[in-house]
Every structure is written in C-alpha cells, then in structure tokens.
C-alpha cells in the first residue's frame, strides 16, 4: 500500500526531467512505530534503574566486592582460624609472612591477616548505623521542611544549616574527645551521624519541592486525601530516589570517617578491632615495616571503593540526566 503512495510522485518527476535525481520517499510502515506493546510489563523508575544497572560491568564488580565484604564481616571464621588477639607473641613483633600467617605480624606480634578479617565487621557496622541515622534524620527534616514549607521549613532548614556548617569530622573529634570514657561502635556512629544528616535533608527537600508541584499530588488534594497521607503515600515515594543514591556513598564516607577518627586516636578503643586502629598502631613503624600499615589500608580502600562504585552506578541508574553523561 505504501508503494502506491510513493510511486506516483517519483514517476511523475522523472517523467518531467530525466537528469534530475529525486530520491524516493522513505516511509516506515505504520505497524513498526505505532503499535502499543501490550505484552510488555509497565515500566517505572526502579525497573528502569535495575535494567540499566545490571547491564553495566562495574555494577557486577562492585556488587561482588560488597558481597565479599559482607560475608567476611558476618563470618570471619570462614577466612581465618587464627585468633586476632590471643595468639600474639612479642617474639614475632613486626615479623614477615610465615606459613599460615600470609601478611606477617604487627608490632605486638599479632597476625595481620586475622586482624584485618576480624576488623571488617566494625567498619561495616559503623557504616550501616550511620546511614540508618542520617537517613532517618535527613528524611524527617527534609520531608517536613520541603512539604510543609513556610515557617516550619525556615526553622528546620536553619537547624540543618547549623549542623551543616560544622565539618562533621571536626564535630566528631569534639564529641569523641569528650566521650573518651565511652568509646564504642555506637558512640562513634552517633558522633558521625549526628552531623552528617543535613546533606540528605537538603537533597530530599529540593526533590520534594519539585515533586509536590506534580499533577497527581494536585489530584490527591482534589480527592480530599489528607496532607500527611499525601506526603507519605504520594510525595515521599516519588522523591526518595536521590536519597537512595547518596546513601551508598554516605556509607563509604562513614567508613572513612570511622577509620580517620580511630587513626587520630579518638575513635574506637584499642580493644576493638578496626582498620583505623591498625593503621594508627602501625604508623610509627612506617619506615621499617610498611607492611603492617599497607595491608589494612588496602582493605579499607577496597571496601570504600566498592561502595563508592556501587553508589555511582545507583546514582546514574536512578537519574536519567546522569545516564546521558556516560
């Protein structure tokens, strides 16, 4: 049928002048473009994001790394049978690798490999507690400030400004120096999280400001849905994506913060196994025995790298604008 439409002008023009070439009209058959694919499942942001993420090799690389870190944290016994604290022998102080002790010994004569394996859960626990804390605080502050606006927004945003104005490592240093008798995974997570939430709140607030202008929100108002229900049922689920994206990166930042505080000596007590503590202990011997410092640093860096990589994948998958930049 399309041929019939095409034929007449082409033949007409070629009949008029033979030395002019006129290209035949190109037309895609209607069936190819205008058909509604009923069989396909309806897509949404999350399904699109998952499709995008799983097609990328770095998603799988970071995913496997994170899985490995999780397994090491949950089941350290699978990877080492050497007790991290009890089998230390001062005779082996700063010793090189031997059979069964692949990474050598610390200054105290403890097995470096075993201490790294057993320190994994500390870093991960701190990271998870911190992001739970920052997400809860950030969502509460950001959602109410963005959705209700007015004086509540001014009030909550000013509180956020105050916490945001203090660099959170400095704040954590102050809290941890005051809490010197109460150093634990919980206090350090609190010290980091209590000053890290305003960035989450800001991101969510900005997103809610644009989502609450949407027609479906207007429709809910028109139907008489209560404000609180609109916030939790319609606005929040549609504004939460950027929060999810930065949460993974915050987890990495929290792990770094814990290691930094422990490295400074105001983090976890020396009785708690932590990569930051190991690096702190090893720094005096950097000239003679760099290995005791390098191995925990590598473990720390790889873990942080995995979470940052995953955060990037999630951010790009959830943000069509970022996808275009690849």
């Amino acid at each position: 049928m399309s041929n019939d439409v095409n034929e007449s002008p082409v033949t007409g023009s070629s009949a008029r002048s033979a030395n002019h070439f006129v290209a035949p009209l190109e037309e895609t058959p209607l069936v190819a473009i205008d058909v509604v694919k009923v069989a396909e499942k309806p897509s949404n942001l999350w399904i699109d994001a998952w499709r995008d993420a799983r097609s990328r090799p770095i998603f799988w690389i970071s995913g496997v790394l994170i899985l490995l870190v999780l397994v090491v944290a949950l089941l350290p016994g699978l990877f080492t049978s050497v007790a991290p604290n009890n089998d230390c022998q001062l005779a082996l102080s700063n010793g090189g690798p031997t059979d069964g002790h692949p990474l050598g010994f610390t200054k105290q004569g403890c097995d470096v490999y075993s201490r790294i394996i057993n320190g994994t859960s500390t870093s991960l626990t701190v990271g998870i507690i911190v992001i739970l804390l920052t997400t809860v605080l950030g969502v509460v502050f950001g959602a109410f400030a963005g959705f209700y606006g007015g004086w509540l927004d001014s009030f909550l945003s000013r509180i956020g400004d105050i916490f945001f104005s203090i660099p959170y490592i400095l704040a954590a240093v102050v809290i941890m120096s005051v809490l010197s008798q109460y150093r634990s995974v919980w206090t350090i997570s609190l010290a980091i999280g209590i000053f890290a939430w305003p960035s989450t709140a800001r991101v969510l607030r900005a997103e809610i400001l644009s989502v609450k202008q949407s027609d479906y929100v207007m429709a809910s108002y028109a139907l008489g849905v209560s404000k609180l229900r609109i916030l939790f049922r319609h606005v929040l689920p549609n504004a939460i994506a950027p929060v999810i994206a930065i949460t993974t990166i915050s987890l990495a930042a929290a792990i770094v913060a814990e290691a930094t505080l422990s490295f400074l000596g105001v983090g976890l007590g020396s009785d708690i196994m932590s990569w930051g503590n190991e690096i702190n202990q090893a720094q005096r011997d950097i000239r003679t025995h760099p290995q005791t410092l390098i191995y925990p640093s590598i473990a720390l860096s790889i873990t942080v790298f995995a979470f940052i990589l995953m955060g990037e994948v999630i951010r790009e998958a959830l943000d069509p604008k970022a996808r275009a930049l690849r």
């Binding site: 105050i162 203090i166 660099p167 005051v178 490295f263 400074l264 720094q283 930049l325």
Partner: protein, 309 residues
Amino acid sequence: MAGYILRRLLQAIPVFIGTTFLIYFMVFALPGDPIIALFGDKTPNPAIVAQLRQQYHLDQPFIVQYLIYMGGIFQGNFGVSFSGQPVIEILARTFPVTLRLAVIALLMETIAGILVGMVAGLRKGKLFDGTTLAISLILISLPVFVIAFVAQFVFGVQLGWARTTVGDGAPIQDLILPAIVLASISFAQIVRLTRSSVIETSSLDFVRTAYSKGLGRRRIIPVHILRNSLIPVVTYLATDFGVLLVGATVTEGIFNVPGVGNTLYQAIIRGEGPTVVSFVTVMVLIYLLVNLAVDLLYGLLDPRIRYVK
C-alpha cells in the same frame, strides 16, 4: 547589592550563634568530663581539678560559660591552650602556614583538574575519558591518610625526592608533597565536575550556533564551552578552600606541617579536650567566614543569585 549583602549577613548571625552554642552544648551535655579525661587513667588531685574547673569556668552554669566564651570571642580572646598560650597567638603563628599550604594545593588541583576534566569531557567515551574516570573514582575512594602515608613512604623514604616531614619555617619545597596529597582528592572531584559540565554545555544550542556560523574549535572550546562550564567548578573550588583551611588536620599531622590543623592534631593525640574544643570552634568560625565571603562574591559575579529569596 547592598540589600543582598545585608540579608546574607543577617542570615549568618543565627548560624554563627547556633554553631558555637551547639559545640558548647555538646561539651557540656555529654557525660564525659574533659578535666577528668585529661588525667587519663590516673586519679586526679581534687584541688587541681577544682582549680582547673575554675580556670575554665566549668564551675559556672552552662549559659554563663557560653556567654563568657562569646564575650571573649568578640574581644579577640579564643581561650588559652593547655600549654598556657593564648589560642589567638598560636593562630597568628600557624595560620599563615596553613594558608600557604591551602593556596598551593588549590592552585595545583585547579589547573590540573580543569585541564584533565575538560579534555575528558571533550573526548567523552574515548579511552582518555574512561581512564580518568576510573582514576578519579580510585582517588576518591582512598582515605586521605592512606594517600599521605603512601606518598610519604614512596617519595620521602624510598625515592628520597622530598622530606618526609616539613622543616623549620615551612619552606615551599617542603610543602609541595603535602599539598599534592591534599590536592589529589579534590582534583578527582574537579575532574568529574568539569567533565560533566563540559559535556552538558557542549550540547547546548549556543555551542551548535557557534559551530554552524563557522567558528573554529580553538575559539569555541575556551570561549563558549569552557567559560560557561566553569560555574559549578568555581563553586566547588570556593567551598574547597574553606575545607582546606580547616580540614587539613590529618595531612598536616602526618607531614608535621606547623599549621592550624597540626596544632589540633597534636591536641587530639595528647587528649587535651579543652584545647581541641577551642580550636574546633575557631576553625568552624573560619569556615563560616570563608563561606560567607564566597556567597558575597557570588552575588557580585552572578546577578541572578541576588534576587533569589
């Protein structure tokens, strides 16, 4: 413009009061005792504890302590460190060093970051782009003390190109290595920012117009693309300057740079709680002032900002 400056200054007042209050409140309300903590495991002499308490006004009610401190700040009195030196004198000695270090680091990261980011953005999807993206992600993942130790060990101990610690008077050549360490992480961020900004600007209509009216790449890239891509980069650089001024604690500590950060580092290591608190307060104030100056500068550079409520 005058209205904008006034509004911005008025906004800064509650934040200034809030931050100082918050730090004081934390120290006051948290269960630890900074004076007892000073003695570590030893049992303190009650008379000395009482004297120290009086010296730091810790025997007064919270709000009085806070007002005494705030009154002091307005007279240029930021407290006394545990070695008995006024904090303001220590600042006068150490701040120029930190400032020098921050400026060197900022210059390095700006020049290198914008150049690399621009080339990566213009060659989006090519090998150079992919390599720089991977390197920048790795740099961002490395905690600053890891970079500092590796640099110190490789360049200082093994290759002997630089001194591992900074010497007397902090000469420029000793500051290069710590500055590179400080610049490395921000460098990665600047590369990423410049890259995405260049890609975004390159696809805008005015760039296409410039191409279609026959301008060459040598004019379009610096004048049309780069100039319009640098706004988010300048924003980042300005805040990073504030971070460099206060956040160099770890790097200054490791390289023994005689700056503000190192003073804080030494106080933390020795567990001198009150000194830590007064230095952190001063640093937060510096940070606030830099951010305020940056905001005012923006109002000057970008007229749109002045009218946003």
